[in-house]
């Protein structure tokens, strides 16, 4: 006999009993103890068929293969660059993954990417020891010039991007800004100063209200309101 004790999209805390019964399966963020399914973190409950899983509401970014992230160059050595990924682990970008151009051995790598510069890169591999390899070869991967960088909760990134990029496209159109959203929570915005600020305020609003429904409409109104000023 199964008893589900929580509702879809309910905020649950560690130790809370989500369901009782052997029919229900523990999804990510939950675990089974005897006949109970228990919350294994703070999160939003999601019932998917017979599985209950928790959507994280907070927490630092965990690097994943194939994620496109924005990194900052923190070290340059003979064979490549070390990058800050906004997580507990730094990434390595080796010479061969940096560009399709041929780089001479012993060349000054800071000519390509220098300390403090921001790069859009793709995660190629994450080992069990959390060593991260990234590449700059791929569509959209490049060094960022100008503009400004803000940091958001990486868990809110899907909402900020929207279905098929609809949310971020809307912001780009309304503010005439270039925007790149990294899966690791770093976002690059480039446009006129007031518009950059409008885009940032919009993104912060989405970050705050990300688990509400009707968000797209609210953001549309918010952007229109900003324009009116």
């Amino acid at each position: 006999m199964t008893e589900i004790r929580i509702k879809e999209k309910e905020i649950v805390v560690p130790g809370e009993v989500l369901a009782v019964g052997m029919e229900v399966l523990p999804g990510t963020g939950t675990y089974r103890m005897n006949d109970k399914i228990i919350a294994g973190r703070l999160g939003l409950a999601a019932i998917d068929g017979r599985t209950i899983k928790l959507i994280p509401l907070s927490g630092r970014y965990t690097p994943k293969k194939n994620d496109v992230i924005i990194c900052k160059v923190i070290d340059v050595n003979f064979s490549g660059w070390r990058l800050d990924t906004n997580s507990a682990y730094s990434a390595m970008l080796s010479m061969k993954d940096a560009t399709s151009d041929f780089i001479q051995r012993g060349a000054d790598l800071t000519q390509y990417f220098d300390l403090g510069e921001y790069l859009v890169c793709g995660i190629v591999n994450v080992t069990s020891q959390k060593l991260i390899d990234v590449t700059m070869k791929g569509p959209g991967l490049r060094k960022l010039r100008g503009g400004r960088i803000i940091q958001v909760d990486s868990h809110k990134v899907p909402r900020i991007i929207g279905k098929q990029g609809s949310m971020v496209s809307m912001i780009k159109n309304e503010t005439a800004c270039n925007i790149v959203v990294g899966q690791n929570g770093l976002i690059w915005i480039d446009g006129q100063p007031e518009q950059e600020l409008a885009a940032i305020r919009t993104i912060r609003k989405i970050e705050k209200e990300s688990h509400l429904s009707g968000l797209t409409e609210k953001i549309k109104e918010y952007l229109a309101g900003n324009k009116g000023e």
Binding site: M33, I38, R41, E209
Partner: protein, 236 residues
């Protein structure tokens, strides 16, 4: 004079008034405060993050580091000299042992989760308040946690068993006193911190642990509400 009534007229199994709030330090990955009577603990969590020096790193899992500290003006007596003491180092250590069992740090090899507990105001029960605050802060930081950890001191004054000793009870001059801080995982029903100052009979322990469990379940409800409040507020 036998001890028959609490100075503040509380019931023997009643705690002082409790206030809990989550998300109070924007820079931290997770934060909370827990106030019980006049004892007020702030907790901030940073992590998982880079760990230096390298020899501290564990390639199999992240490590937990706790630091408990009283602010210089937090005592109602003399100023507390900054820089910690042997007492605060010991409390830091038992706090870490109280919190570690609920955490799963295998996903964060070579990194550290730092917990800072700072008390701006203290009056008995500070290590327990610190653990209650830290537990909420760890959950707020999005870490994998099997349960929250709640803590309270139980004990005995004269012949009376009681919960949440305040300063007058800890230092009661006219009878034997026992002060027993206990931390528990409320849902998994396990004790993660147990210490004692004073004298108590073996037969009293079972009842005292039951009282601790009951109180920790109540504290859990307050911690739960504080966590939900923070995230619910965003959806107002």
């Amino acid at each position: 004079m036998t001890y028959s009534k609490r100075l503040d007229n509380r019931g023997f199994e009643e705690t002082r008034p409790i206030e809990a709030k989550v998300g109070i330090i924007p820079n931290a990955d997770g934060s909370a405060y827990f106030k019980i009577g006049n004892t007020w603990a702030y907790a901030a969590v940073y992590g998982p993050r880079n760990l230096h020096p390298k020899f501290l790193q564990d390639p199999q899992k992240g490590i937990l580091r706790c630091n408990y500290n009283m602010m210089p003006f937090s005592s109602s007596n003399e100023r507390v000299r900054p820089g910690g003491s042997r007492r605060s180092k010991e409390i830091s250590m038992v706090t870490e042992k109280a919190l570690l069992p609920v955490l799963d740090l295998k996903e964060y090899p070579n990194s550290v989760v730092d917990v800072f507990i700072e008390l701006p105001q203290t009056e008995a029960g500070s290590r327990c308040a610190g653990i209650c605050a830290a537990s909420m802060a760890l959950a707020d930081a999005g870490l994998l946690m099997k349960d929250l950890v709640a803590a309270v001191s139980v004990g005995k004054v004269g012949s009376k068993l009681l919960v949440d000793l305040d300063y007058t009870e800890e230092s009661y001059p006219d009878a034997d006193v026992a002060d027993i801080p206990v931390a528990m995982t409320p849902n998994l029903n396990q004790v993660t911190l147990l210490q004692m100052d004073g004298k108590v009979k073996k037969e009293d322990i079972s009842k005292l642990l039951d009282m601790a469990k009951k109180t920790c379940m109540n504290i859990y409800e307050l911690q739960k509400n504080a966590l939900k409040e923070k995230y619910k507020a965003d959806s107002q």
